[in-house]
Subunit: 265 residues, 2 copies
């Protein structure tokens, strides 16, 4: 019979609880995922799941899938305990510990076919996750999350990506200077989304490999980065409104680039 | 000296607390706004603020603005009490009660210049608010929120609109049949965002007044409404991902329409 863990002092549970602190996840290079849907999406996208905690009665089709995978350690945990540990109010009885994929700059800068997305000090986990999700959908070749504000380790970010983070190469917590070095040694154009931009987002020809930068919701892109821009692009605002949501701005721009590259209309 | 209310039994506080229940807000046709930024945005957009509750020490420039307006009743409330009543953890010491604007179908259907946006059973308040915010930015002439799931009265929706909801005519809690009657008696094309759509969103000519429908995050647009569509439009998904965020999908489509109508490129 499978052992069911009920004690918060169990070593596996103690380890899991540590991972709920972001600096520990960072040090251990692990992500945590909660809930059937997200874990299923991650699995589909090829995430390296190390361990799964589930309630004794958890019997989804997902359960059968992960049981087949010998690389995944399955630990049955009482419902009370899983609810105590989890971040979401109703964690659906399943939590996964996943290895953070390990990427290099060469995985990200793959040439003209795939633009890059740089996230500069995004504040809201939902926006960050949405941008990652759209990036994958729009064929972006890689992500760079600059150091500061929300981190990709954040559970809410992972949730908002809908698992997409596992199907795109990314570098996270990158120092601005390191990014600028990567950029300046390669033949890419740098497009910064900027409310005070000189051009509308549909005006550039987008004829070179492109890097798009989306900045903080209130303050935009840092001045230092903005000064390196080849293009500062803006989105027209017709109504009485100051700005668009950061996730929306980035998405509109990425899809316009896609339309351009595909020479559609 | 101004009276400072400290008791939860004060009639004004009792009324305010009632308005924190959505069915009461609906019946009273009132919105509640919390925090300096949102109230400032609402004021700027011409919202009809009836009453403002603020802490004794609240002394923002907003305070001076509302004090000048004789139509606004200002009530000073102790910090403890405002924190007890408010929905946000840090309500910044200010809550406003606002009249729901009263709109008619004629305010919404204003002809070829301005498309309409219909929200069908959107589930997430953030998505709903984001769509309203983008609609205003993209020059949409009016909104129709069909009955079901999240309502525009929801505080999180209002927050995500960033005040935009006060600068666009809208009808809310509209029955599907009532909407279909409004639509069929007017010369508009109905564009439904649909993962299984027949055309990409940049393919139609958009040469007639347009109504765009965005549906539920998981289930999409209701079958009954989908069957009335003149165009079922989809957004290409290149990466390993099932769908885009609903707020993002709607935003991409609305901006493509804007680009088309302005004959840009």
């Amino acid at each position: 019979m499978t052992e069911i863990i009920t004690s918060i002092k169990n070593p596996d549970i103690k380890y899991l609880r540590k991972l709920y602190r972001s600096h520990r996840r960072r040090r251990e290079e692990k992500f945590i995922l909660e809930g059937t849907r997200l874990i299923e999406q991650a699995l589909q996208a090829g995430a390296e799941i190390k361990q799964i905690f589930m309630t004794p009665d958890y019997d989804d089709s997902l359960c059968k899938k992960v049981q087949k995978d010998e690389g995944i350690k399955i630990t049955r945990v009482s419902r009370d305990l899983i609810e105590e540990v989890a971040d979401t109010v109703t964690p659906q009885g399943i939590i996964a510990v996943v290895d953070k994929p390990s990427w290099q700059p060469e995985d990200i800068f793959t040439g003209p076919k795939h633009p890059l997305l740089v996230l500069d000090r995004i504040q809201d986990p939902g926006n960050m996750g949405t941008l990652i999700r759209t990036a994958v959908a729009a064929g972006v070749g890689g992500l760079i999350a600059l150091k500061g504000w929300v981190d990709i380790y954040n559970l809410k970010v992972l949730r908002a990506t809908a698992g997409a983070v596992f199907s795109i190469p990314f570098l996270m917590r990158v120092e601005l200077n390191d990014f600028l070095n990567m950029y300046s040694s390669r033949d890419y154009d740098l497009y910064c989304a900027d409310l005070n931009g000189e051009q509308y987002y549909y005006e550039p020809d987008y004829d070179k490999p492109a890097i798009f930068v989306i900045g903080n919701e209130a303050r935009g892109i840092s001045e230092e980065l903005l000064q390196k821009a080849d293009y500062r692009i803006k989105i027209p605002l017709l109504g009485e409104i100051d700005s668009l949501n950061a996730g929306v701005s980035g998405s509109i721009i990425l899809y316009e680039y896609l339309r351009h590259r595909q020479k559609i209309k």
